[in-house]
């Protein structure tokens, strides 16, 4: 215990670690003040847009004449617009009344209808929200499809929600939803790299005073494991440092509820996929579990490399594991099944949890359960390796 305390103390007065913590804090504050407010969801609550569409289609339906020569596009429109406009009408009325539950119900119907119509559109004239079709986006249609169904799923939950609804919840601007969004973009990389940089020198620093530390009365393996625990605690502190930013966003946009839906996608061929939800609380718990495994993996690798190669620079190369995925998980191809047994495939934890990763790669191989097992096994193997190496080398650090 004393050794743990001593290592913790050294860890938290380490100049490099303090700098890292400070940088992380500054970056998170920068994010919550400058970047988070500029977030503009593609599927926003936009009364003007709904109204414009509704009026335009209404006018069209009222003025159109059907003759023999009527273009089949027009006929198609006459067929599908009435029901579609019904939903828009309901949405407008709900917004007018300020009944967000009713709005959510109608919006869910709207999106489901839109997806169905676009899917069955025989002339390929219907399109998703134009915001997906930006220059250079080769997957605009897929993005639209996913986001429409995603939106429909979560609006379905809002419709029956017993927590307070407001526009911030609908547009996913609350603190919890912002956190979730971050967890599905760059944050996992930042957390993992921070963990690496924090633990980078945890073994190597002892080389500067070997006579002092080599004599501590415990087995080298135990000492290494305790060091790992210290690094793990330190890495968790880096998560705690995100709390101020979380609080600020929460005070501004509301915190959201742990019952909020976190939509997951289940792969099936031919657009027969299903969308389900778990609660935000469950999502965060699962996320934490996998992040912990990742931290353990990275720290384990640092420990292993430290006793094998004894160099801080080499430890930095471990950072590569965060980016290996990029070279083989490319949108546009179905990756080979065996790649899903690599721990590196699970670096984008959020996208694995929600199934978005599977969606973009047209596969069902990357499940959270498999990811958990693969990472757990890797951690165990790394730990065993450390044990073997220490026994073999009669380690002196």
């Amino acid at each position: 215990m004393n050794y743990l305390k001593w290592e913790l103390k050294v860890f938290f007065i380490n100049q490099k670690n303090i700098i890292l913590f400070a940088l992380l804090l500054i970056a998170s504050l920068y994010y919550c003040f400058y970047i988070a407010p500029t977030y503009q969801p593609n599927e926003a609550v936009n009364k003007g847009e709904i109204e414009a569409r509704y009026e335009e289609r209404k006018e069209f339906l009222e003025t159109v004449d059907i003759e023999n020569s009527t273009h089949y596009y027009t006929l198609f429109a006459i067929q599908i617009f009435p029901e579609w406009n019904e939903y828009d009408k309901e949405r407008l009325d709900a917004l007018e009344k300020g009944d967000l539950h009713a709005y959510a119900r109608a919006t869910q119907e709207w999106y489901l209808y839109a997806v169905e119509m676009i899917r069955t559109d025989p002339f390929d004239v219907l399109r998703f929200n134009p915001r997906y079709y930006t220059y250079g986006n080769r997957f605009a249609k897929e993005d639209g499809h996913y986001n429409y169904l995603y939106t429909a799923e979560r609006y379905g939950h809002y419709a029956i929600a017993d927590y307070k609804l407001d526009v911030n919840v609908l547009e996913e601007r609350t603190a919890l939803q912002t956190l979730k969004r971050m967890l599905e973009s760059g944050l996992p990389y930042i957390l993992l790299l921070t963990c690496l940089l924090l633990s980078n020198d945890i073994v190597m620093k002892d080389r500067k005073h070997p006579s002092m530390v080599n004599g501590f009365p415990m087995t080298p393996f135990k000492r290494i494991i305790l060091k790992g625990i210290v690094a793990l605690i330190g890495s968790l502190v880096s998560i705690i440092l995100l709390i101020p930013a979380f609080l600020i966003i929460g005070l501004r946009n509301g915190f959201g509820s742990l019952d909020l839906p976190a939509v997951t996608y289940n792969f099936a061929f031919f657009n027969n996929e299903t969308f389900e939800s778990m609660s935000m609380g469950m999502y965060l718990l699962k996320y934490l579990a996998i992040v912990l495994l990742w931290f353990m993996l990275i720290i384990g690798l640092v420990l292993l490399m430290s006793i094998l190669l004894k160099n801080e620079y080499f430890n930095l190369i471990i950072g590569v594991v965060c980016f290996v995925e990029i070279i083989y998980h490319q949108r546009g191809w179905v990756p080979k099944e065996w790649l899903s047994y690599l721990p590196t495939s699970y670096v984008q934890i959020g996208d694995v949890l929600t199934g978005y990763k599977n969606y973009t790669l047209y596969t069902d191989a990357l499940t959270p359960e498999k990811g958990f097992l693969v990472l757990l096994l890797t951690v165990i193997i790394v730990l065993l390796f450390i044990k073997v190496v220490i026994n073999k080398k009669k380690m002196t650090i």
Partner: protein, 382 residues
């Protein structure tokens, strides 16, 4: 000085730092080939399809009207419709596997597009278009292909595409790599002071020897990296050193791929020199390896975080640390200053290097001479 470099070599030869940087490079080379195999990087079919979709989305913003009638249709709408026909030409070229149709369509498309950037209401369709810079790069590229009778590279398993990818990634990371690698260039000696301090050489010689040895290693590393990648790429794909690459240097034009390789090689050396001298100065003032590394990172990312600084401070070296975004004009575009260009990059990096060198000379050499002169006079009196 030569003996000193030999000594540095003895000391550093077994330094794992060097091995780790080498293994990183090797990992990078392997990764780049796997990446290219799996990615749609610079593949024409998906790119063209995406362009069609984006253009259609832009057209959807306007009510369908007669595009040929200037009375009814706005200029931008007419331009978009014109783009449609040119894009169709490109798609046709791909379907019929006829390079010349595609190239013709591509050139005409870029010409039509060039006009849209100044039209009223362009901002509304901006996100469905390439930027002016991207369009101009495309233009000069396809014109060069047409002039030189080069074949169109439809998929990406070929030498020029690999080299472009490889230099893009390396150009992005080279400054940081050298910066991190040299961030303890003098600190390392602090652990061996009593050994090193008494060497019978002047500080200037010592520093020069340090810089030279690091430079030799870095150039060696560059040679190794370039040689290996070019070798593997030319075995895997057919080597073609004359294929044009579009670049920005105040103006948009193409150069042959061998020139591109040569320019990047020399530029990387200039970058290395600058990074080395910055490391030395940082080492002099800051004694913490990690802080020095962070400073390098900050210097590198200033341009990305605050692109507006480049508008007024275009002559500052940090605008030129990212080779990839410099040579394709992205830096100039985001900073809004055309002065941030390759040739200025060379001049400014070399100037920075010389200024830093003079500064180091002043710091380590002249200041000490002054000190000892003063001392001498004081000592004489006593």
């Amino acid at each position: 000085m030569f003996t000193l470099m030999k000594t540095i070599f003895i000391v550093e030869r077994k330094n794992i730092k060097f091995k780790s940087i080498l293994s990183l490079i090797i990992l990078f080379i392997i990764g780049s080939f796997i990446y290219l195999e799996n990615s749609q990087f610079r593949e024409l079919e998906p790119a063209t399809a995406a362009e069609v979709v984006a253009k259609n989305a832009a057209l959807d913003l306007y009510k369908k009207t007669d595009a040929t009638d200037p009375e009814v249709a706005s200029a931008i709408y007419r331009n978009l419709n014109l783009q449609s026909t040119k894009l169709a030409l490109r798609s046709l070229g791909l379907i019929t596997k006829d390079d010349s149709i595609y190239i013709q369509g591509a050139i005409e498309l870029t010409q039509v597009r060039n006009e849209i950037y100044t039209m009223n209401g362009f901002n509304e369709v901006a996100q469905y278009m390439p930027t002016y810079r991207q369009n101009r790069l495309d233009q000069v590229f396809y014109m060069a292909i047409q002039d030189q009778n080069k074949e169109l590279l439809v998929d990406n398993s070929n030498f020029p595409t690999y080299i472009i990818l490889f230099l893009f990634v390396l150009g992005y990371s080279w400054y940081l790599l050298v910066g991190i690698f040299s961030s303890d260039i003098l600190l390392e000696e602090e652990n061996h002071q009593s050994l090193v301090k008494g060497y019978p050489f002047t500080m200037a010689t010592k520093l020069l020897a340090k810089i030279c040895s690091y430079l030799i290693f870095i150039i060696g590393l560059l040679f190794f990296t370039f040689f290996i990648t070019i070798l593997i790429a030319s075995i895997m794909y057919d080597i073609d050193l004359t294929y044009p690459v579009a670049i920005f240097n105040g103006d948009y034009f193409t150069i042959a791929i061998w020139e591109y390789i040569g320019i990047s090689f020399i530029y990387f050396i200039c970058l290395s020199l600058t990074a080395l001298t910055i490391s030395i100065v940082l080492n002099y003032y800051v004694k913490n390896l990690y802080i020095i590394t962070f400073v390098h990172f900050i210097l590198f990312f200033i341009m990305q975080l605050l692109p507006a600084t480049g508008k007024w401070l275009w002559f500052m070296p940090f605008n030129y640390f990212n080779f990839s975004t410099l040579i394709n004009g992205q830096t100039a575009e985001s900073a809004g200053n055309q002065m941030i260009r390759l040739s200025n990059g060379f001049i400014i990096l070399v100037t920075t290097f010389i200024v830093m060198l003079l500064f180091i000379y002043w710091q380590f050499y002249l200041s000490q001479i002054r000190h000892s002169n003063k001392l001498n006079r004081g000592g004489g009196k006593a």
